[in-house]
């Protein structure tokens, strides 16, 4: 599953980043690395972008950015 599919309020753990170059670097600098815990906090009225809680900070990602982040949803 990719991060853009994570329902609001749910938690997940990053498993892989399917993106290269500067965009990958940027996501990593924002704290999105394999093993990072992510919490989908809020979605804007049109469903894009979405704010995620990552390592103690709120990070807002567009859908196509979130789509590059593969996650494992946390036990439900």
């Amino acid at each position: 599953m990719t991060l853009d599919e994570l329902p609001r309020g749910d938690r997940a753990v990053v498993t892989a980043l399917d993106i290269r170059g500067g965009a990958r670097r940027r996501l990593m600098d924002l704290g999105l690395l394999p093993g990072s815990a992510v919490h989908a906090e809020m979605t804007s009225p049109l469903g894009d972008p979405t704010a995620y809680e990552i390592r103690g900070a709120l990070v807002v990602l567009r859908r196509e950015q979130a789509r590059a982040v593969h996650v494992e949803p946390e036990g439900r």
Partner: protein, 280 residues
Amino acid sequence: MATPLPTPGVGRTPEPPDAGGACASCALAPEATRLARLGLDPGRYSHVVALAGNPNTGKSTVFNALTGLRQHVGNWAGKTVARAEGGFSYGGVGYRIVDLPGTYSLLSASADEDVARDVLLFGRPDVTVVVVDATRLERNLPLVLQVRQITGRVVVALNLVDEARRHGITVDVRHLARELGVPVVATAARRGEGLPDLLAAIEQVATTDDPPAPLRLVHHDPELERAVATLADQVAARFPSLPNTRWVALRLLEGDPGIEAAVRDGSLGDQAAPTVGAAG
């Protein structure tokens, strides 16, 4: 605004202030009057200190506490646009201090990160103080590691420890220092807490002849490792005084345009760098 600051004449190394003189109104403990804040004008200085850190870690507060300036404390993106400079004298020795823009990284291509990286890489400060937020340590440590890959002349200021305490967070400072291989000082710059220790650590790192080596990343991909090693050797041959050839090699492999240009025009090896250290 009319706080009297000791302002020695240009080009003259300031006398150590007599007790109580320079620091009557400051938050530092009396024994820290080894500190004289020199405001905007460092006069003649022996050491250059760079202040790095993520946004909102209190970098500018540390800067102001050391220089006596009251510039630009505020919380908005890109507040420290390029870089602010000031000076202080500690133990009779002059320091020039450069406040870098807040960045999460030295690797993404944004103007702020370029400024920070260029100062560290080309300016070769004698000490880089990385200010980190004790309440968000995990988020702050990547930058520390990136700076450590460039230089061993690092002091980590574990700032906002007062806020961390309120949140029930205690940081094992000694363990952190051991893991990072550089001094870590707990500070609450807003109240002056920890600043005497920070100054002592800055002095120690500035004056040591034997700083820790830059951190060396081990690449588990043998092909990448071979490429880095080969290129690092060539960089070392061209720039013998460069301490962090592996880091430069890795940037070249990533196609970093700034580093490529610096290798091409030779500014990478330039001791009297254009960013810091030039004009006095």
